[in-house]
């Protein structure tokens, strides 16, 4: 289905990533955002609030983050496409209801413009340290999707994609951007509405008497109705059977919760998006996501100039994780280099998929800034020369770390 003309502000803009995400949400057909504005995501909420009324969409500033995410789960069940917008501290507060939304198989989008943490951290500077929280932040087993854009244009494009995936798989979709991209101003092209594909809700169209709320289609995803539209609907966070009624035993736990995990796992080939560059002849591959993947390309260019055969595997979607592709690549190369703005999160999933076939190097960054390309280049060059097989993840010492701590930070040395 094509986007609605009145939701798409077609044109060429010079705007920041946050604003682009707000425009993207509207273009995707989002009709309700509830949020508790927080730096550095505020501009996204402001942008949506500014343009929403003309499209009959609504922004409500809630009393806090718990209320914000609860409101968008409710809004989704009332029939709207919904989103909330936050950053680290707010994201932590939202976690319980992310699981609630997942349990109810609610389609909604959560935009996290990551900042430096923990706690209040560095509100106006960047970080990528919420990646594991995105995947595992709420209790219990469930699958979800996380996307990491690297430019304002992508914050527009992938916000639309996030909504489409949320509708298709009826799960929370996290847009895991960061302050650097959110506050980066660049050219953004918003195409005409007829060029934007949007995923409609998976409405149930049968007879109201026969509606079974959690009975899945073949792809493991059930169909939805609008609460209050005359169907029998009983939904809660309690473990339930297909009708939505509370159940307790192992049988249902297996059948139902397993499906929450499997509907993402079994469809992951359709969900996962990767961007690969110069992989064919590579001895080393940089695996990265979000802003780090953008800076990494410069590091790769520099390493190529120094004669190292290095390529890039960019995780556009970080969750679900591309296990098979990384396992396959690890068999062909000497090492995988993972720059991320944290002290090691996604790198451990990369290492898990390597099965000891390639060395894995973490290029850490403590946040409040992004990697300098030299560090990524140096990590590539040094690991390309490494002849030993090293079982654990190798932590590369960046210039910044050496300048602050000297050479002796690592406890093992």
């Amino acid at each position: 289905m094509k986007a609605d003309q009145r939701d798409v502000l077609s044109g060429v803009y010079y705007i920041d990533g946050d604003v682009a995400a707000g425009y993207g949400a509207l273009a995707a057909g989002c009709k309700f955002i509830a949020g508790y504005p927080i730096t550095p995501s505020t501009e996204a909420a402001e942008a949506f609030a500014r343009i929403a009324p003309k499209s009959g969409a609504l922004f409500i500033q809630m009393e806090d983050e718990l209320a914000s995410v609860s409101a968008i789960v409710g809004g989704a069940w009332a029939g709207a496409k919904t989103m909330t917008i936050t950053s680290g501290p707010g994201y932590s507060l939202m976690m319980e209801t992310v699981g609630f939304g997942a349990m109810l198989e609610t389609p909604f989008v959560l935009l996290n413009i990551q900042r430096g943490g923990p706690s209040t951290g560095v509100p106006t500077k960047t970080g990528q340290a919420d990646m594991m929280q995105a995947r595992w932040g709420s209790h219990g087993d469930y699958g979800l999707i996380a996307i990491a854009p690297e430019s304002p244009q992508e914050l527009f494009d992938y916000t639309i994609k996030a909504f489409n995936l949320a509708e298709k798989y009826r799960c929370p979709v996290m847009i895991m951007s960061d302050e650097c991209v959110g506050h980066m101003t660049e050219k953004v092209v918003i195409p005409p509405a007829e060029e934007i594909e949007i995923e409609p809700r998976r409405w149930y169209t049968g007879s109201p008497d026969e509606y079974v709320p959690f009975k899945p289609d073949k792809d493991l995803v059930p169909r939805m109705v609008k609460a209050g539209s005359g169907h029998k609907l009983y939904i809660s966070g309690r473990l339930h059977d297909e009708r939505g009624y509370p159940v307790d035993d192992e049988h249902y736990k297996l059948k139902y919760v397993r499906r929450l995990v499997d509907k993402i796992k079994c469809n992951k080939d359709k969900i996962i998006e990767l961007k690969e560059e110069q992989i064919d002849d590579a001895d080393v591959i940089v695996v990265s996501y979000g802003i780090s993947s953008r800076v990494a390309i410069r590091g790769i260019e520099m390493a190529r100039e120094r004669g190292i055969k290095v390529g890039s595997l960019r995780l556009v979607t970080v969750w679900p994780f591309p296990d098979e592709r990384i396992t396959e690549l690890a068999k062909k190369v000497k090492a995988l280099v993972v720059p991320e703005i944290n002290y090691g999160q996604v790198v451990f999933d990369v290492a898990r998929c390597c099965h000891g076939n390639a060395n894995v190097v973490l290029v850490p960054h403590g946040g409040a800034g992004v990697h300098v390309p030299d560090d990524i280049c140096d990590a590539i060059v040094s690991v390309a020369k490494e002849e030993r097989k090293i079982e654990e993840v190798i932590e590369f010492k960046t210039k910044l770390e050496i300048s602050v701590f000297g050479g002796g930070l690592k406890s093992k040395e």
């Binding site: 060429v12 010079y14 106006t124 506050h183 101003t185 660049e186 050219k187 800076v295 390309i297 390309p373």
Partner: protein, 185 residues
Amino acid sequence: MAEIRFAGYGGQGIIRSGIIVGKAASLYDNKYGTMSQSFGPEARGGACSSQLVVSETKVLYPYVTNSDVLVVMSQEGYDKFEPELKENGILLVDENLVKHKPPRGDIRVHLIPATRFAEQLGKKIVANVVMLGFFTAITGIVTYEAMEKALPGSVPEKALDLNIKAFEKGYNFGLELQKKQKDPQ
């Protein structure tokens, strides 16, 4: 590739300056312009700077490390960022706001009474746009035509005429200054 930093304090239009030049470069000069704003917990009145990287190809590293051009409108901005200016870098100074020390031998310094010009035009607030005109004439990183197109929509509509005048004042002053420097007579 050119790394440009605008420095001043919150409320002077420092971020806006980065946006206008970035917009001119990316939308009208067919280049890539990536602007990042940096600010601390404070807003109006606090130190503030915007960073802009203009390139023929996609900007991969978005921040300024060694600036090619530094535009300063506050003493603090001058003191803080002058050392990061590259060898042969261009320093543009609002001489009404910044007392600049004896210049480093390896940079090119250009002074303009931007605030006084802006006051003469009727509003001190357009001093940043005077600086932008000056910047356009001296550096050539963006074209006059692109800047002319970038101004509408980037400044309040009712103040557009004033801003265009401010831009032209700075631009012409820059051209004359360059003429004088080329031909001292």
